[in-house]
Amino acid sequence: MSTQPTTPVGTGSDRARLAALFREFIDPEYVIEDRETQRVYECDGLSMYCEEPMLVVLPDTIDQAQRVMKICHQYGVPVVARGAGTGLCAGAMPHPDGVVLSMAKFTRILDIDPVARTARLEPGVRNLSISEAAAPFGLYYAPDPSSQIACTIGGNVAENSGGVHCLKYGLTVHNVLRIEILTVEGERVTIGSEALDSAGFDLLALLNGSEGLLGITTEVTVKLLPAPEKAQVVMAAFDSVEDAGNAVSAVISNGIIPGGLEMMDSVAISAAEDFCQAGYPKEANALLLCELDGSVAEVEEQIDTVDRLFRQLKATSTRVSASEAERLLMWKGRKAAFPAVGRVSPDYYCMDGTIPRSQLAHVLVEIEKMSRHYGLRVANVFHAGDGNLHPLILFDANVPGEFEKSEEFGGKILELCVAVGGCITGEHGVGVEKIRQMAVQFDDRELKQFHAVKAAFDPGGTLNPGKGVPMLKHCQEYRSLNPDLEPNDQPVVSNAHDRPAARSSHQAGRP
């Protein structure tokens, strides 16, 4: 099924030729060649990384998308798929010699089956609109990334998106039953079914989180869950993150799995409180928001237990939401933490490492040391239940060299996460942003195995090239610049470029 591409296409007049080919079957207005219109496609939510694509196309039908893929395959043109562009790892950053295949027009919810509790979706359906469509049946879609108002299910599959409810309800991979893809050759393939499992290799697991490197998602079937009868939040303030961390462990050791369990440090608390007056105690050094959900009886029982545990474990104050309005207000501060931090700093850079929860206090102390070393402030928000840390490095892109410094600082945080037994990304993906740190988490043989997986789907390497998995020679270079890192195997020579230099931008990273 894989014929190798023959005639290479470059830029310039090739762009015009390719555009003409696409315009034979796509509304000419949606084959975008001019730089001005292309500008909105030059980056995703991590706007520090930009690139101008050769072409942008927005097909209306899967047949059209299929023809785009076939033509690109024929000429060996790189293809970068794009959803809403809310990603935070430059995974949707265009390739300079490639086509951006926008799935933005595929916004139909094809079917909600309230009996089987599934939803069949086009890839451009927004995450939140799935739950909205399911709500009349008492159902919802569980994964809820912060960007859920805008992000699409196709992008969620590509990144294996999480959210604040992951510990209890899982990531995208746990909630997807079936995916239809276009292969690099332009073949339509269905992976999975209505059933909970299928014989053979678990290609569904492989595709979730594959960052557009293995195929283009054209349809997704997800599971819907019954909406909990009740949800209630306990908010607790602590004098130290260590105390807050101990309180989190105690909740879990008591056999309670909260629907959401979030922590903020003092910088984040102040910024969020100033931004939306959620009633957070600004004098606290750590704040926990613990949401319990389930049947009315279950929530009432667990709220009491959690409130008591927090008070026993050095909480300086606790508050239980007394109404739905109060619960939403408590969450409002947390959910707005990123834009809130955006008000106290011209720019910020959001990191995404995971750590074993027991390492939290140690990691935050180390981050504080680095913060002083680099002279850059940090606000920390933390999915405490599942160990996913989001340090926000505050910087000013107008100060020459400050973004580069933030980037280096961020890289050090990720290395620290790996050193304490965690990993470089919990939910944002690798993309371009973290590709160098892949060499810290994986050795060369493991990276080679990833490349072999990629080659099984995309032998010519034209699906989202330069993302996700680094070329081994670049790993060698990166490790040699960081003598603390583990030595590695012999490099494999490759002339592909991995990672364009980041360009500083006046835009802040958006959550």
Binding site: D202, N254, A297, T354, G387, A455
Partner: protein
Amino acid sequence: MSDISQQLTEQISDARASGTALAIVGRNSKTFYGRGIVGDALHVGEHRGIVDYQPAELVLTVRAGTPLEEIEQTLDEQGQRLAFDPPHFRGASIGGTLACNQSGPSRPWMGSVRDMVLGLRLINGKGEHLRFGGQVMKNVAGYDVSRLQAGAMGCLGVITEISFKVLPGPAASHTVILGGEDPGAAVSIMNRLSARPLPLTGACWLAERGVGRLYLRFEGARNAVHSAVEQLQQEFPESESMRADDNFWHRLREHELDFFDTEETLWRFSVGAARDLLPDVPEDEWLIDWGGAQRWLRGSAYSLDELNASLPVGAGEVSAFRRGDREGEVFPELAAPVKALHTRLKEAFDPDRLLNRGRLYSWL
């Protein structure tokens, strides 16, 4: 309690040098499953022991040959459990459980063995001992090679170590039995209840002495279970509670119920939970588990291809779980492009086709 990964790596390297096919043997609990194969035995059962367990982190790391029994005992001491409640089939190891993707009756509500995997170590067909995923709840760096091993039947490598998410055990458990329902009505009730916020963790229908019985298990916080059972009893006044000492769910999980006591082929239907049953099959030849999503059918007169052809496109699939022709295919035929991807992934992990050649499919 020993680490024999070095020895396993050498054995695979030697086999590669001599071109010898290897048949991976764990604790011999699922030799009935998959296709019968030929190859030198590669024994991994001695690679066992708990490597790390942090109850407050909800993470357990174990060597692949560790018996489930040992793991469950360790977890139980901390009030925790493997939420996927895997069948032991007399002594199963955790590695074989993952390789065969085996999960018990709570699977639709609590997740599968595949869902709970956080990371693993694996020796590929080139004799390279590799590590993927991690020991944290979330890790999206690199392709999900860890979950890819679920159901791969050892064809992509020898699993040596696995990290799992574990969960607290339930404070309360109560099973309600509805008598007299036919299987179609039972499937409908299962789906209706699954759509409500109830702490359901088991839903199974079978015919006992000619009478249909629907078992519904509720587990979780005491108040939650109590109120769910009350609701059920109001809706179905004829329902009865299962005796606390009845080990129905255990016998179901272990295939020890009378239904499974047969010499006939046992077919496994993995289908959409709300799908209709096949017409023309006697009701008592069915056992319906997983709230409708996993159905067992007894009978040696059926063929794999015919059963699969009888399902609507996209509804799911049928495999030959026990007995029947183990030399022919036992899993459903794959669509041509999916089959091609399988061949290429096998090539990517095990280029010489040394590991469990033919166990999953004759051509793999």
